[in-house]
């Protein structure tokens, strides 16, 4: 069953076209990793999916319903939740409050505070600490936990490993791996760390200059192919180098 499909999405930042006609479709429970260099349009694409950036053209369909015209909070209630770039926790609110906001404004479901704390055990002792006092890894855990508490069908995670220590990256992906195992949630993950992306994804989507450069299962491509698509380096130039 197709859970989410994106058809010819175009996004602009004022005059700059950041996303140029991206299309893909995801089955329920599938995991897609979006990779690409800085400025390739990954974050804009994610924001567009979450409803935080308007589409200049194209549409987004969730479970057969066109959600293109819906605002961010309305999409959350339809089942699309996002952990945004930079985590964006509310810094002067406690971790508990950060989590509660999503729980009380999102959908009801299996993900409760207890389950989030079980998945990310490091959060338990931090519940009453202001979010600004957390370390990078703790922030990421709280941000993902916050998105999970809205009980989404589609979970968007921007820049999962950026700024995290190797141990923290491992922890986050262990938790995400368990969620993936259940196949109850469709995930779209923006990941700079190519290794993480290739290990975690069912499918990868490489974006260059706002357009899809590569799409397929991780095994479909060689590391060099992916690496070149990533940097937008043409075959000729990389031969020079």
């Amino acid at each position: 069953m197709t859970r989410l499909s994106v058809e010819g999405a175009v996004c602009r930042h004022g005059l700059l076209t950041a996303v140029r006609g991206v299309s893909f479709a995801l089955e329920a429970g599938e995991v897609l990793c979006v990779i690409g260099a800085n400025g390739a349009g990954k974050t804009t694409l994610m924001r567009a999916l979450a409803g935080a950036h308007p589409l200049a053209a194209g549409r987004i369909v969730l479970d057969g319903e066109d959600v293109t015209g819906l605002g961010t909070h309305a999409r959350l209630r339809r089942g699309i939740a996002m952990s945004p770039e930079g985590r964006r926790l509310f810094p002067d609110m406690t971790v508990r409050e950060n989590l509660m906001i999503a729980a009380e404004n999102g959908r009801a479901g299996d993900w409760t505070l207890d389950r989030v704390l079980a998945a990310f055990d490091q959060l338990e002792p931090l519940l009453d600490r202001p979010a600004e006092k957390l370390s990078g890894g703790q922030r990421q855990a709280a941000a993902i936990g916050r998105a999970l508490l809205a009980n989404p069908d589609v979970l968007l995670l921007d820049e999962v490993s950026l700024g995290l220590s190797p141990a923290a990256v491992e922890g986050v992906y262990r938790a995400l791996g368990e969620i993936k195992e259940t196949r109850a949630m469709t995930m779209i993950v923006v990941e700079q760390d190519l290794t993480c992306a290739l290990n975690f994804a069912d499918r990868i989507l490489c974006v260059t200059e706002g357009a899809v450069a590569l799409e397929g299962r991780p095994d479909d491509f060689t590391r060099a192919e992916i690496s070149n698509a990533y940097f937008g380096i043409h075959e000729k130039e990389s031969a020079d180098a």
Partner: protein, 315 residues
């Protein structure tokens, strides 16, 4: 003389309660919506005039009039935000100023058109409350009404604080204030949170207006002065903090009250001067932080002056 000072201090603190109520609404708007409503004082006057009309023309008990008026004014705040303020905020930094000052002018003069120029008061409708007081040792008199207003102020600020901490709406408002987009990503309807804050702000202004009408008179043109007191209290207390607003209100009330020992006009002036002093202190602190401390900053400035003169001489 000492008794007079003590009396003035106490009265000033109590007066601060009134300022805290009207400033709380302004502070909420500045802190949460990042919007300064220059017609905030006129909302207070409108609330007072509506209450006076309900009481004196329709003959309702004062308390009932207030309880009826508050939700009405809240609704007005909600609608105004939805219709006017949201649109103005999209137009950049200058538009909200232009729109709300225009709104103030429209409101003041429309109120004049409707209610005329008479000064009005609720003093006669609250019976002995208007003038009764408790006598404390040392000849100090505690007016009942000021004490009630102060208690209401503490309740309002405390209640607002609890509302923001403990309720779903409160958390939604705080989240929106902190990061509007992230709040939306948590399912918060940020526009609704803003409108709710505007409704609360206008209702608080109206409540303050009622108290103003109880202890003094109001005219359709009393609003601007109330806005100025509210703004002063907010700045003195520190922008966007509710506890600070109460303190700011009390500081303003005390300085006016102490100034009042000299003369009625000095009362207003001392309040303004305290505001200016706080503003100078705050801007100076920022300047010094930006320039590596007072000493280094001033030396550098001086050196630059001299340097400019010398290079000017060369040319």
């Amino acid at each position: 003389m000492l008794d007079g000072t003590a009396q003035a201090l106490i009265q000033g603190v109590l007066l601060g309660g009134y300022y805290a109520i009207i400033a709380a609404g302004l502070s909420l708007m500045v802190g949460v919506v990042r919007f300064i409503n220059l017609a905030h004082g006129d909302m207070a006057v409108l609330g007072a005039l509506v209450t006076i009309t309900l009481t004196q023309v329709l003959g309702m008990p004062v308390l009932l009039s207030i309880l009826l008026m508050l939700p009405l004014m809240g609704l007005l705040g909600w609608v105004m935000h939805a219709v006017l303020f949201e649109r103005a905020m999209k137009g950049g930094l200058l538009l909200p100023i232009l729109v709300t000052i225009g709104l103030g002018a429209a409101l003041q003069n429309a109120m004049f058109g409707i209610w005329g120029s008479d000064t009005r008061s609720l003093g006669a409708d609250i019976g002995s409350l208007a003038w009764e007081g408790w006598f404390l040792p040392g000849g100090i008199i505690l007016g009942k009404l000021p004490v009630i207003v102060f208690c209401v102020a503490v309740l309002v600020i405390g209640g607002l604080h609890l509302m923001l901490r403990r309720t779903k709406l409160g958390r939604a408002i705080r989240a929106t204030a902190s990061d509007r987009e992230a709040a939306e990503m948590c399912g918060v309807d940020a526009a609704r949170a803003h409108r709710a804050a505007a409704a609360i702000a206008v209702a608080l202004a109206a409540l303050a207006g009622v108290f103003l009408a109880m202890r003094a008179q109001v005219t359709p043109y009393s609003g601007p002065a109330q806005l100025i007191f509210a703004f002063e209290a907010v700045v003195i207390g520190g922008l966007g903090s509710l506890g600070g607003t109460l303190i700011g209100g009390i500081v303003l009330g005390v300085s006016q009250s102490l100034g009042g020992l000299i003369s009625a006009q000095a009362s207003l002036l001392t309040g303004h001067l305290v505001f200016v002093a706080v503003l100078i202190w705050r801007l100076g602190r920022d300047w010094s932080a930006d320039h590596g401390g007072w000493h280094a900053g001033l030396v550098a400035q001086l050196a630059r002056r001299v340097g400019r003169r010398e290079s000017g001489a060369e040319q």
